[in-house]
């Protein structure tokens, strides 16, 4: 009996020390434990999913009963909201058309559409120190670490570990969550940092920013992991004066979520500068050339000397001193079709150079720079309004 008692005590002390050692080992051997975590999560995910089905059904039943109790009020509210939204829809359609035209006009690189996978939240956080959930979307469905996870209301978190069939999502409220965001009307950048409370903090906000409660917070896309513009929440002010964020997504009712398979557009197709910035387009140049017919033969040579540098120009000027100012003014027209990229950089100084050059012949500069952009812009503008 005493031997049994002693061995029992020894086993207690041994397990206590083992548990304490595990705390240190967990910090040192993170790789081993991360792998173990993957395996356990993958094994438990089917069980959790099975268990979460009746739970989800029960929750829906409870919600349904709640809804029945308030069905009349809810109907009234929705009617009012619908009226407001119809007005918004009208505005949105107009703006959509306008933006589409502007994008076409400015040749804007439209963000590629983002693919997503839908899945369900199958687990809870399992303790007061972490805010993570497990979703039944894994590597096989294309989820990868860092992907943003959203539900119908907004962003809820991002994936931090993936198994074959299940992934772990770090919610925005978790202590380890940091998300680059933009606070909308003023476009102030900040970092949304979780601290295990229901409302994550706004950090690294510039002191001069005028952010007020009620402002909308969206993802900024900085870092390239998460697409920009995902709705996150609204700014609120706590009683101690700190700015925090109330998320749009209800963390207590997480159910179906989407994992965004966002790829940062690194392989962007080469894009010519917008016509507005470079001045008149190619088709406008033939019109300009006949107007300056006598200067035409000088044009091919002149841009090269001016592009090579200001120091080379003075020696080039003496032979054609009378014609010199004209190529300088016409230069933007001819270089554009040939080398689009450098011209964007040069067009802005060219305006400055033109202000110096116009002294000899302001008429030519006027003809090239002022009238031609309006002919390009005006018809489109007229069409939008």
């Amino acid at each position: 009996m005493p031997i049994r008692e002693i061995s029992h005590r020894i086993s207690l002390v041994f397990m206590l020390s083992l548990a304490a050692a595990l705390l240190l080992l967990g910090r040192a051997e993170t790789y081993v434990f991360d792998n173990a975590r993957q395996v356990v999560t993958d094994l438990a995910a089917p069980l959790l999913e099975l268990a979460s089905r009746p739970v989800a059904a029960a929750r829906r039943a409870v919600e349904r009963t709640d809804e029945y109790a308030y069905v009349f009020d809810e109907n009234e509210r929705l009617r009012a909201e619908n009226l407001r939204l119809m007005a918004w829809k009208d505005t949105a359609l107009k703006l959509e058309a306008k933006v589409a035209r502007y994008e076409a006009l400015l040749n804007v690189q439209v963000d590629p559409s983002i693919n997503y996978v839908s899945g369900r939240v199958v687990s809870d956080n399992g303790g007061p120190f972490v805010d993570t959930v497990i979703v039944n979307i894994g590597r096989e469905q294309g989820a990868k670490s860092g992907d943003a996870v959203i539900d119908t209301d907004g962003m809820i978190g991002r994936i931090v570990a993936t198994g074959a069939k299940a992934s772990r999502v770090l919610l925005l409220t978790d202590l380890n969550s940091r998300l680059p965001v933009v606070i909308e009307p003023g476009h102030y950048k900040a970092v949304l940092s979780g601290d295990n409370t229901d409302w994550p903090k706004l950090e690294y906000l510039v002191a001069t920013s005028s952010v007020s409660p009620g402002d909308r917070v969206v993802t900024s896309g900085d870092g390239g992991l998460i697409p920009p513009g995902l709705p996150v929440g609204l700014v609120i002010q706590t009683s101690d004066g700190n700015l925090r964020v109330q998320s749009f997504a209800n963390h207590e009712r997480l159910d179906y979520v989407r994992v965004l398979k966002y790829e940062f557009p690194t392989e962007v197709a080469r894009q010519d500068p917008p016509a507005l910035l470079t001045g008149p387009p190619v088709k406008a140049s033939p019109a300009a050339v006949p107007a300056a017919a006598p200067v035409a033969p000088e044009i091919p040579g002149a841009p090269q000397t001016s592009a090579s540098g200001a120091t080379t120009r003075p020696p080039a000027t003496p032979p054609a001193s009378s014609v010199k100012p004209k190529p300088a003014a016409v230069k933007p027209v001819t270089t554009k079709p040939v080398v689009p990229k450098p011209t964007t950089a040069t067009t802005v100084p060219a305006a400055g150079a033109a202000t110096m050059a116009p002294v000899p012949d302001p008429a030519d500069a006027d003809e090239d720079e002022v009238p031609s952009p309006p002919t390009e812009v005006e018809p489109v503008n007229g069409a939008t309004e």
Binding site: L16, G26, V40, S123, L175
Partner: protein
């Protein structure tokens, strides 16, 4: 010793069932660990989950410690650690310490009215909260908010009678008299 067991002469099936019965508290503990990851609290729109594993550890440590060794507690804690994304060892350590504490104070709470038993569980829950909060704060290097832990402990204590009732039924109906 052996002579007394001889006439028993069990069939393989009865042997197996005996093993299953002996393992039952541990299996219940594992189920409780899994249950704390099932979003049951969200049925009523709450996000604070009770510590089901703590209920199992407390109950079996008080009522049937001989069927619920410290290894079982350690495995339960480790499983919680692996399933949650928190620091490894947090729950293995907390649960093992709680188990040892309950085991040493067991004589105080055995054969007492249920209200005292319940109060003892509340105290255990608070101790668990303090230990886990301290360990987590040290690991994260920051003072963590206390409110989620407190809510966790209170919810756990509030749900405990239901589980104590269930465990009691299992203990009296299935387990051999100890």
């Amino acid at each position: 010793m052996m002579a007394r067991l001889d006439p028993y002469n069990p069939t393989p099936a009865s042997r197996a069932s005996r093993v299953v019965v002996m393992l039952l508290p541990f299996v219940i503990g594992l189920v409780c660990v899994l249950l704390s990851f099932v979003p049951v609290a969200r049925i009523i729109g709450a996000s604070t989950m009770p510590a089901f594993a703590l209920m199992a550890i407390f109950y079996w440590a008080v009522v049937r410690p001989e069927m619920f060794p410290v290894y079982a507690v350690f495995v339960m804690g480790l499983l919680t650690d692996l399933l949650s994304a928190g620091p490894i060892g947090l729950w293995a350590f907390t649960y093992t310490v709680i188990y040892v504490l309950v085991l040493t104070q067991r004589f105080l709470i055995i054969n007492v009215p249920f209200s005292v038993f319940w109060f003892a569980f509340l105290v255990t829950g608070l101790v668990e909260g303090v230990i886990s909060w301290t360990v987590a704060s040290v690991i994260y290097g920051a003072l963590l908010p206390v409110r989620p832990v407190l809510a966790h402990v209170i919810v756990t204590a509030a749900v405990f009678p239901l589980f104590a009732f269930l465990f009691g039924r299992i203990e009296r109906r299935i387990l051999p008299a100890g």
